[in-house]
């Protein structure tokens, strides 16, 4: 029986050993956290001093010991992310000579390591890393490519926006919200390239739709005519995006292109067309909108009543209230902010 007892004891020992490893892991983690904390105590005030008391970045960088470089870069990055303008530039100047420590990580096999290094390098580095960042747009890992695209979608990299736009097809799984807000971060300097992209029917429609949304976020008035030209496209996603863009930047000149779409058989195109026509159209369009209300489609009813409100068509709204049903509730919601 002794070997059996030994076998059970071995299993118990394995469990205890596992537990011991967890404890060791905790001790190691605690030590690492303490070390980083100690470095923060030293380096936070020093880096902040670059901004507050005019310390010289180069001489401060010379104080960094080789073994603390990666921690100091982390700390600088943490601070730089919260800063803008010249304050951020001062921190970047300080960190630039330290970034060499991250170069091997940019070639790491693990995409997460590459992505993290790229994130820090593009955030703390200057224009000398722009070409490197562009190359990472074609990294086999979508994560690395995403980091590169976000890094380049900054006002200081506006001339490179074409590189990102050319690769939008790669990002077709991203939500439109993510793509469009990323592109809009570049600012108005990128608007001409985006307009051209929207107007290019050789480009994938999902990418053009995302660009339309970016132009909407930028409130680019010049995009209105380009958007109106796309309304005859077959792709509903693109049409809806252009209608939303027109709602924001369009004028009555584009109302004619919008009108036929309020009878579209796709409800989301119809809804977007109604709200756009409410903004761009004239009082006469109220009749058209009334005729297009589908009593069974809540979104269309809601958008129709909002469009009527935009047109100050109170008589038509009152008629809807009187007629009852779903459009009546939608009209009450629009007229009285939902108050019963």
């Amino acid at each position: 029986m002794s070997w059996l007892i030994q076998a059970v004891l071995v299993l118990v020992a394995v469990n205890l050993m596992f537990s011991g490893l967890v404890v060791l892991l905790r001790i190691n983690n605690a030590r690492r956290a303490e070390r980083l904390e100690a470095r923060k105590v030293v380096w936070y005030p020093r880096i902040i001093g670059l901004i507050s008391d005019g310390s010289v970045p180069e001489s401060l960088a010379a104080l960094v010991e080789p073994q603390e470089r990666s921690d100091v870069v982390e700390i600088a990055w943490e601070i730089a992310r919260r800063l803008r303008g010249t304050d951020r530039s001062r921190v970047q100047e300080f960190a630039a000579p330290l970034l060499q420590t991250l170069i091997p990580d940019l070639k790491a096999r693990r995409p997460e390591t590459r992505a993290r290094a790229l994130q820090i390098v593009t955030s703390l580095g200057g224009s000398e890393y722009e070409d490197t960042t562009v190359r990472f747009l074609d990294d086999p890992s979508p994560l690395v490519s995403l980091v590169a695209a976000r890094a380049l979608s900054q006002p200081r990299h506006a001339p490179q926006i074409g590189q990102v736009l050319d690769r939008l097809d790669r990002y077709q799984r991203w939500s439109q919200a993510l793509t469009s807000s990323m592109l809009a971060e570049v600012g108005m300097e990128a608007a001409p390239a985006m307009r051209a992209h929207l107007d290019d029917d050789g480009r994938p429609t999902h990418a053009r739709a995302a660009v339309a949304r970016s132009l909407e976020l930028l409130r680019d008035i010049e995009a209105a005519s380009v958007a109106a030209d796309q309304l005859e496209d077959a792709d509903a996603e693109l049409i809806a995006a252009c209608l939303r863009l027109l709602f924001v930047v369009g004028t009555e000149a584009q109302a004619g292109a919008v009108r036929p779409l309020i009878d579209d058989d796709r409800f989301f195109v119809r809804s977007a067309a109604m709200i756009a026509l409410g903004r761009l159209g004239s009082r006469d369009d109220a009749t058209l909108i009334m005729g297009a209300i589908d009593p069974d489609s809540p979104w269309v009813a809601i958008r129709a009543t909002q469009a009527l409100a935009e047109l100050h068509a109170t008589a038509e709204l009152a008629t809807l209230v009187t007629n009852g049903g779903l459009p009546a509730d939608a009209a009450i919601e629009t007229l009285y902010g939902g108050a019963a």
């Binding site: 469990n15 390591t113 994560l143 976000r150 919200a177």
Partner: protein
């Protein structure tokens, strides 16, 4: 010839080996995935990502039934989340206490007309209210119909492309919404995302958020803490890695509204409506050959109150088991059906063999083990093998769950808590596991009798050290979530759009 008892014992050994072996493999897979995931989060700089993308509008749907003791602080806490564009839709599910009156008084609600944007069948809706000071707070008062029915009402009356289903007593961490929305941003085919649910008993709660994470004193709750770690960090992360997430907790999950509405909403005829919906979403999307992702991610955190008495816990486990049985019964066509991919070919068969039938086999195994010992037919080799596979390997898996927590999020910062968790992991297989198996077996028997009753849980309410602070925070909240009327808030493209006009 082998006698039946010996044959059965051999089968039991094989069963435990596969069960615990699978868990061990899932733990190993989870270990790799968690490391990768945490590195990914660091490389993405999630705060910046969400700040720049503006996030996606989301509705928090909170079913409430007789929650008058806790509803006001819970809602106040929800109104202080760090997210740009969200609404809170509380559905009062025919409470017989003064839940509604409490809400009306606390948030200065007034009746409104709100058009439902889908028409899932539900119990009758009486009145809809909106907060005067918090226009992003909507309260729907309805006939009692159960949690799934209340969620469907919330779905009908919510306006965002995404919604988050949760329990009224759940505490979301301030950045939980922002984190749970990230997969929807990164992949437009994402239809559902689950976050981690942690146990708040024993923690210090201040201003509607968990301030100080501690292990509870109660041993029964400590066992549950360990179970949750094992379930979320090992099993769910592991299953998620192979694309087979079958459960998103009803306490905290985010969904693409249009897809859930298209699939028919929550099923009010099951007590396992959370798992049922996920399995149905797999089925729905695969039947339509529609690309989709259902994700579990471990960083968005919701805190919940765990049962503190054996009777409450046994009722909960009984209900979970009944729910599981109903879900598998309802979707049995998916089991071992190649059309349903990994969920149908791997995850569901596992759930049938080990989660559904597990309690039955385990109890019979324990009985056979004792019988073999008593009758003297248990060979020494069998005895050791049984102890090794059923008990000590189980302990090793539990310890590995603690290791996963330590490698990833390290929420239990006190060294004493870590040691206590390890002790719990080592002793869990001696008594608690067998009790839990027994409760699940009772649930299985109830399911066989088609018992659809919910076990009531008396809530003690989580300790909040500073309710006044929570109130002040809530009252100062500005209307951050007014829906932009110029957008059709129904998704990211036609694939995500749905006009719910059909009748059910």
């Amino acid at each position: 010839m082998i006698d039946p008892l010996t044959a059965f014992n051999v089968f039991i050994l094989f069963y435990f080996a596969v069960l615990n072996g699978t868990y061990l493999i899932l733990s190993l897979v989870a270990f790799r995935s968690l490391r990768k995931y945490i590195d990914r989060l660091e490389s993405l700089q999630i705060d910046d990502l969400l700040a720049s993308s503006g996030g996606l509008p989301i509705s928090l749907i909170v079913p409430a039934f007789n929650e008058s003791a806790t509803i006001a602080p819970s809602v106040r806490s929800l109104l202080t989340l760090m997210y740009a564009d969200y609404e809170v839709v509380v559905v009062n599910d025919g409470s017989t206490d003064d839940t509604l009156e409490t809400l009306v008084a606390a948030f200065d609600l007034e009746p409104i007309v709100r058009v439902p944007t889908s028409n899932l069948p539900t119990a009758a809706v009486h009145t809809i209210y909106q907060g005067v000071r918090h226009s992003n707070l909507v309260v729907v008062d309805k006939e009692n119909g159960g949690k799934a029915d209340a969620l469907n009402v919330g779905l009908n009356y919510s306006r965002s492309a995404l919604f988050c289903a949760m329990d009224a007593d759940t505490i979301l961490e301030p950045d939980a919404l922002a984190r749970i929305v990230r997969p929807f941003l990164e992949d437009a085919t994402t239809v559902a995302v689950g976050g981690i649910v942690r146990i708040a008993n024993g923690c210090t709660i201040d201003g509607g958020s968990v301030d100080d994470v501690r292990l509870p004193r109660s041993m029964l709750v400590r066992f549950q803490v360990l179970e949750y770690l094992r379930s979320f960090l090992a099993a769910r992360v592991g299953w998620n890695t192979i694309g087979a997430t079958l459960i998103i907790s009803g306490a905290f999950g985010a969904f693409r509204r249009s897809v859930v509405a298209d699939a028919g909403g929550f099923d009010a005829s099951t007590v396992g409506e959370d798992m049922e919906l996920i399995v149905r979403l797999h089925r729905h999307c695969r039947d339509l050959d529609r690309p989709y992702r259902i994700e579990f991610i471990p960083d968005p955190v919701a805190w919940t109150e765990a049962p503190e008495t054996i009777s409450q816990l046994s009722r909960q486990r009984d209900r979970w088991q009944r729910g599981l049985a109903q879900v598998i019964g309802r979707h049995r066509r998916m089991v071992m059906n190649p059309r349903y991919g990994v969920p149908g070919m791997v995850a569901l068969p596992y759930f049938v063999a080990f989660e559904l039938l597990g309690p039955l086999v385990e109890v019979l195994g324990y009985v056979a083990f004792v019988a073999a010992i008593v009758t003297g037919r248990a060979s020494p080799v069998y005895t050791v093998a049984f102890l090794a596979l059923a008990v000590f390997l189980g302990s090793a898996i539990s310890v590995s769950a603690v290791a996963l927590e330590e490698l990833s999020f390290r929420r239990y910062r006190r060294f004493g808590d870590l040691v206590a968790l390890l002790v719990v992991a080592l002793i869990e297989s001696f008594g608690y596991r067998q009790m839990s198996t027994w409760w699940r077996l009772r649930g299985l028997v109830s399911a066989a009798r088609s018992d659809l009753q919910w076990g009531a849980m008396e809530r003690r309410g989580l300790e909040r050290v500073n309710p006044a602070a929570a109130q002040a925070l809530g009252d100062n909240q500005t209307d951050a979530a007014t829906v932009d009327p110029d957008l059709v808030p129904i998704g990211d493209g036609p694939h995500a759009l749905s006009d719910q006009t059909r009748s059910h």
